[in-house]
Symmetry: C2
């Protein structure tokens, strides 16, 4: 999407590849929204570290990063021995997978790259095929998000007020995003609407990433505390809710997403507000048959007990506030601990529809439509 | 309640009066949980400023502070002319009321002090009566909270896991608190239980004040992001919810409380979790006949867009983390704005019971029991 720095507007992808320098180029998401900076990783080890340190995060974005990282590793191989290349690829694969061991997207992405490159008959051919496969994986990610926009765009009508949770925007994918895709599609068709971004504690991806994205694209929005969503819904100030998903069960329609999603779905049901989930094919889990089997990550308590932000510069002379270096501050009582589940599971009956690149489905209809949705036996 | 600093444990009230120095002594709540400091206001103007700057906050606490501030102002009067004293009292009253113009507790407290002192026949008698009345107001606040503890304590059974929201603890009153009173009563009877403190964004009173209080009293607790409550409720990890209230409508049983309370009540209903509200008589509004008539304060957007906390001291050598000066950090995208409603209204049908000093009532039974609950024609 477009990013404006100073007076210059340029199109960026979250993840891109510089084939001349054999480098993966990433928007450093740890510095957003206070600083926009591109990081170029010089080798696959650095790419793995970028995934691990969350310079890049989000299902589609880390998938594409791992695909490029594998191609990068292959392209750094010197020699003509296909067997040695294969051993090298195993090591690159393992390094990249270990960077975020529970995520499913990097694995799927790298399997695709590896399977494509194996069709090459020489090292040179395999090297070329690896990059082509990684590029295609990234392009497919963009195409799927654009298709979600076409499917979901008509839901966003003139003047609507839409609630989002967390960030399933273009920063979480290669471009366009999933939950944001219908918004960008509606904007492209000239419709005006207002987005409320749930802050999304404890990591505040709504206040930092989604708000930054929407500001960059010129979409009217406001940040709210997660606590305020119920109030706005109660007062008829929300017309529609759209969220993303980290894992949707194809057999049951249950949706795993950032902690707090379930609460919004419960509020939506009580007040008859449409609640949609936007997903690419890659996040559908066709194996599990119950949401209770989804492992829920318990994250570090420091996320709940404090916050990352930029210190206000009191001496700034100019219009509006300006902010300095990013620091972690301890908000909570220093002698207290915290629980920090990262995700929750929303049952199918609370979900109005699931927006996919292949159409909008009721959660319980995913299984019947599994062929359209990329299910492979 | 007891506060331990270093190895010394002492009993403190949130608000107290030093009659020798004619000073109101307050726990500086802006510095908690990172620093415990008592502020002594030397005159009524300083007391008004302490209310305005939120050194003291919470319904009962600011009521008692205003009562003491009025007595403090009366006691600083020099002369024997009762009419001049009366004019002086008007000015003190107005100064203290203007410090938090929408709050109802300071007005009720000061009216009580003024009505009692007017029975004095000389300036000296009126001065003495003003202080006696203020002391009694503060003591009544404590007695009412203790009575809430006696009424609500039996709800807290061995091993229960209780969710709280915001701070309706002893820091919000003169001592004991309302939502916390049943917890302290159950603890005094030797029962063990676990409290989950909703962080309560945007001002984080749960993470700062309630967590600090519970830590000081040795009650087992953990802070959670507001988003995590739904997850814990869904997984049967919450047995009971208790919150306070800023204004409860005596005619309808609707409860105004910190933003986010409504959401917890909706979740509680869906999962059949008892949802209790603990209130003293002073927060019952006997006039309004609909929750829609309750004005909801929209607060400054900076609260949502950032957070206050203490900077971690990376050079600290010792056990555990230590924290330095308190700063405001901007969390959200710098070019985004926010909506910040401070309160929401929970309808009577979502509330299991209202714990008062005179018993536990169904919300709709408040009106029928209005004589017991302090209603005056």
């Amino acid at each position: 999407m477009n990013v404006t720095i100073g007076r210059r507007t340029r199109h960026y992808r979250t993840v891109a590849f510089d084939s001349r320098k054999n480098a993966v180029r990433l928007i450093d998401q740890r510095l957003l929204p206070h600083q926009f900076q591109i990081v170029a990783t010089g080798n696959f080890q650095e790419t793995a570290r970028a995934i691990h340190e969350m310079i890049v995060r989000g299902a589609g974005a880390i998938g594409a990063t791992a695909a490029y990282g594998l191609a990068q590793g292959v392209r750094s191989f010197r020699g003509r021995d296909l067997e040695k290349l294969s051993l090298h690829v195993d090591s690159v694969y393992q390094t990249l997978q270990a960077a975020r061991p529970t995520a499913v997207d990097p694995v799927n992405a790298m399997n695709e790259v590896r399977s494509r490159m194996s069709q090459g008959k020489t090292v040179a051919e395999q090297r070329a095929l690896a990059l082509t496969a990684a590029q295609e994986f990234a392009n497919d990610d963009v195409r799927h998000c654009e298709a979600i926009g076409r499917q979901g765009g008509p839901l966003i009508q003139e003047g609507m007020r839409i609630l989002t949770h967390c960030n399933a925007g273009w920063l979480a994918f290669v471009d366009v995003g999933t939950a944001t895709a219908p918004l960008y599609a509606a904007q492209a068709e000239g419709r005006k609407f207002h987005v409320f971004c749930d802050e999304t504690r404890p990591r505040s991806q709504g206040a930092t990433l989604t708000a930054w994205e929407l500001a960059q694209q010129g979409i009217d929005h406001e940040v709210i505390a997660d606590n305020a969503a119920g109030y706005l819904i109660q007062r008829n100030e929300i017309d529609l809710i759209i969220v993303g998903s980290d894992r949707t069960l194809g057999r049951t329609g249950e949706v795993t997403n950032k902690i707090g999603t379930y609460t919004k779905a419960v509020l939506a049901e009580r007040h008859n507000i449409p609640f949609f989930v936007a997903i690419p094919f890659s996040t559908i889990d066709w194996k599990l048959s119950s949401g209770r089997d989804i492992p829920i990550e318990e994250r570090d308590e420091s996320e709940v007990l404090g916050a990352w932000g930029a210190v206000a510069l009191s001496r700034f002379r100019g219009s509006g506030p300006r902010f300095g270096r990013r620091v972690y501050v301890r908000v909570a009582n220093p002698t207290s601990g915290a629980r920090n589940p990262g995700f929750d599971v929303t049952p199918a009956e609370l979900i109005t529809g699931i927006i996919t690149p292949a159409g909008i489905f009721k959660p319980k209809e995913l299984w019947a439509n599994r062929r359209k949705l990329g299910f492979k036996d």
